[in-house]
């Protein structure tokens, strides 16, 4: 009887610890997914903001200093996000998504750098097309996280 109690106690303990570990891993995955979703949403927002800014600049509604300086700050935000993504340790199921988000962040950052250095109308029109592609990729990726 005493032994049975011991066995039951140990079994219960193992079950509690196992449940704890499973809950932790699941929660971690949820956090990873949540973070990737947040990162992707932010990138999409920066892409939309950059597109809007370029459209306004081409329409003569924004000054050059604003375009250059604001682009710099958006790039800083994008790079911060990129660094956070690269240092993130995610389970294999999210590896592909992580790399895609990473690529998009890098693409956007390079684009923002080139806008900051060469804000000529022709260049901006090309960058605007490129931004549209990045936006489509990000929107596609966003669906995976929903």
């Amino acid at each position: 009887m005493k032994q049975l109690r011991k066995v039951l106690f140990i079994a219960a303990l193992i079950a509690v610890v196992a449940a704890g570990i499973i809950a932790f891993v699941e929660n971690q995955q949820k956090v990873d997914k949540q973070f990737l979703k947040e990162a992707n949403t932010n990138l999409l927002s920066y892409t939309n903001e950059t597109s809007t800014m370029l459209d306004l600049y081409l329409a003569g509604k924004l000054t050059k200093p604003y375009l250059k300086i604001h682009t710099g700050y958006l790039n800083k935000k994008t790079l911060n996000l990129f660094e956070q993504i690269t240092t993130m340790d995610v389970p294999p199921t999210y590896q592909t998504a992580l790399h895609q988000t990473e690529d998009n962040a890098l693409q956007l950052s390079q684009l923002l750098s080139s806008i900051g250095t060469k804000p000529t109308p022709d260049q901006i029109k090309k960058q605007r097309i490129q931004l549209e592609k990045t936006k489509q990729q990000l929107t596609q990726l966003q669906k995976q996280y929903e």
Partner: protein, 411 residues
């Protein structure tokens, strides 16, 4: 005629001085995320700051005592010292965030690099506060801050959405979606707190003493508090509505302070954007001076040093050194590259904890007929004062848990 001009000038100054970086960040962001649904929070915050500003202005005019002297008298030395440390730390952080905002606005206007802009900003503030009399500083930044009215113009240009506007004035959950409950509450707390930051009443009451208010100034005080702050709230609401009409549509989360300018540029073009930047520069510039002087006033009043910009510089040496040190500290905080928007979010949320300790002594004195005589609070103001004290206590208890649960509103 001169009296009417003086009152109008006071009101206009209050309108221009209403917006700071905290209001700019929380209002536009809330609009982009929840549309018009948090307009009620602006109303709640505005009524609160109007009631308490009027009270502390009245106290300054009648018994000539600023808020921090009341805090010390009512709470005792030890508790008041704790409030002093907490409120100074938060006001200094807010000051640093405002300095960061001015630095960015100046950069966007001129195209100069970050360091030059920061050095120019700090030097400019030290020179202005050192040389100009209190009234000139207050009026200059307040009047030029009225350029923020361009956000209202842009808002009108996008069309009036009466039904949404009315819906926003009553607290409603976003589409009945309970997942959004905590972020919605976090933004509500942020909006109410950014309107009721403790530094605002510290500065307002010490300013009343700088300007040597007497009971004859009470009409100016009533009108400035009521009309000035109400009109200021319209600017704040315009920021939220623009956020809803422009950024929500384009799926932009306005994480940067200057993003709000894009909404004006879209409606009014290049010159609209330039005026918006100038408005931000002076409105936030006014807040730099308010936060930095409010901290210096509190420290000087607590340690019973001679204080005030009206005094000869050599007589108020410790006070003058204090505000210069606060500006220099802000310079170094921004120099290391801390994002002013992140900084102000933390400052606004943590400031909520100091709100009950700031507002309680004001309410106690303003209610007391033995101290205030015939100028003590009437029945209605007494009730409203207690209702708002209860509200700030709830805000103080809920702000940090909400910040943690929502990852500062990002979830």
């Amino acid at each position: 005629m001169n009296k009417i001009f003086q009152i109008t000038l006071g009101i206009v100054t209050a309108v221009g001085g209403f917006i700071d970086i905290g209001e700019l960040v929380f209002s536009v962001h809330a609009g982009a995320r929840f549309g018009f649904l948090l307009l009620w929070a602006i109303i709640v915050g505005t009524i609160g700051i109007t009631i308490y500003s009027e009270m502390c202005g009245r106290i300054a005019a009648v018994i000539h005592k600023p808020v921090f002297i009341l805090v010390k008298q009512r709470l005792g030395y030890n508790k008041a010292l704790t409030v002093l440390i907490a409120s100074t730390a938060l006001s200094v952080l807010t000051c640093a965030a405002e300095v960061g905002g001015v630095t960015i606005a100046l950069q966007l206007l001129t195209g100069i690099d970050y360091l030059s802009s920061l050095v120019l900003t700090i030097t400019g503030f030290i020179v202005v506060v050192w040389l100009a009399p209190f009234e000139i500083i207050e009026k200059m930044f307040g009047l030029l801050g009225v350029l923020m009215i361009i956000f209202l113009v842009a808002n009108v240009q996008t069309g009036v959405h009466t039904q949404q506007l009315l819906q926003g004035l009553t607290p409603t959950l976003p589409n009945g979606n309970t997942n959004q409950l905590f972020p919605y509450l976090y933004f509500a707390v942020g909006i109410i707190s950014s309107s009721m930051m403790p530094y605002e009443v510290y500065f307002y009451s010490s300013g009343g003493i700088e300007e040597k208010w007497t009971p004859r100034k009470l009409l100016d005080n009533h009108l400035t508090a009521i009309i000035g702050m109400s009109l200021g709230a319209i600017l704040s609401a315009s920021l939220m509505m623009l956020g809803a009409k422009v950024f929500a549509v384009y799926q932009i989360s306005p994480d940067l302070m200057e993003t709000s300018v894009l909404a004006v540029a879209a409606q009014l073009g290049k010159w609209g954007a330039v005026l918006a930047l100038l408005g931000i520069l002076f409105a936030i510039g006014g807040a730099v001076i308010e936060t930095c002087l409010a901290s210096a006033y509190n420290i000087a009043q607590f340690f019973e040093w001679p204080w005030g910009l009206h005094m000869k510089k050599e007589l108020a040496r410790a006070f003058n050194i204090t505000w210069i040190l606060i500006l220099l500290f802000s310079f170094f905080v921004i120099l290391v590259g801390i994002d002013p928007v992140d900084l102000v979010e933390y400052a606004v949320i943590f400031s909520v904890i100091a709100l009950p300790f700031t507002y309680y002594p004001i309410l106690q004195v303003a209610n007391n007929k033995n101290i205030m005589g015939k100028y003590a609070n009437g029945k209605l103001i007494k009730i409203l004062g207690w209702v708002y004290f209860f509200i700030v206590c709830i805000l103080a208890l809920s702000a940090i848990p909400l910040m943690i649960i929502t990852h500062s509103g990002k979830v």
